[in-house]
Symmetry: C2
Subunit: 208 residues, 2 copies
Amino acid sequence: MSLADSTAAEQPVRGRPRSEAVERAIIEGVMKLLEEGVSLAEISIERIARTAGVGKAAIYRRWSGKEELFVDVLRTTEPEDLELPGTSMRDDLIVLLESLRRRGLVNRSSAILHNVQAQMKSSPKIWAAYNNTVIAPRRRVGIEVLRRGQRNGELRLDVDVDLVNDLFVGPMLVRAVLRPDADLPEDLPERIVDTLLAGLRPVSSPVP
Amino acid sequence: MSLADSTAAEQPVRGRPRSEAVERAIIEGVMKLLEEGVSLAEISIERIARTAGVGKAAIYRRWSGKEELFVDVLRTTEPEDLELPGTSMRDDLIVLLESLRRRGLVNRSSAILHNVQAQMKSSPKIWAAYNNTVIAPRRRVGIEVLRRGQRNGELRLDVDVDLVNDLFVGPMLVRAVLRPDADLPEDLPERIVDTLLAGLRPVSSPVP
């Protein structure tokens, strides 16, 4: 769907929807520039305004600057908020890893996304904003799932949940983000979770 | 040590050492440009030649192009080849993870290195070259250590060593590369390895 069409088609009466359309126009304007291969460094507020067909003030009313806007652009490409089944720590962890796997697949299929994420890392300000709004909250969900697991007797009590979160998330991120040629098969989340729970020593636990 | 000094001081008679000095001058030339904040995209063979005080032909005689040269520059910043103790799979894995931890610490302390690695990811050609010459060989060492562990009875036989390698390496890389604010304490390699071997289920194996 072209954004220009949608703004022309709907001419809402009150502020809210109108404002959402403007916001969408701005975000899609940035996406359009990125798709054209313009680098983050070259994208100015002025250029975004021109591409989106809005005034610069409309942008500054919503975002303090480029960095904040870029993070919102990236956030629109993230999967929807997670629905955790809550049936067990194991099930919740599998859902969490599955969402990372899907995100990895989306990133791979989108050269733009991949490129933007790489560029973002060279800008400490954008990276910090992305970390605070996207990564940190996801991390907090993982830690909460693990704490619940400890309360339920699904996870050892003598482990540092912060480290354990990295044990689960790390292998998935390595494949999804750092090794673009690595397999991301459907059963990967389950295999990671179950292998970590069981441990790698041959003298495994006596329970089945 | 200034490179200019060293080339002036030693005027070797035969080809080999002379050639090494030129090679070093070229690599240090690239480092100098990077330190000055010049981006990979802006660094041309011509500019490198000028900075290093050599002819363009001297560069093309050694590298097929910019990408190959950049990878060699990055390789000089990598830690030395690893000496694995070979006493056990556990000990070897700890040494492997320790080298990743050190590399993470070096990257953090060097804004240039960090920046170059980020830029590199936006260039599929350079990334592929880096992957082939630096990452893939390291990966092969890890897989070999795990296979030996399976033969020695230190690692379960019913696991995919490729996945298990990611289970060990993933948490360290997530902290060292993806989460620049994460702790990298000295005992991290040991904690990762021992936690993975023991497993995370509370009903742990009967051995102490």
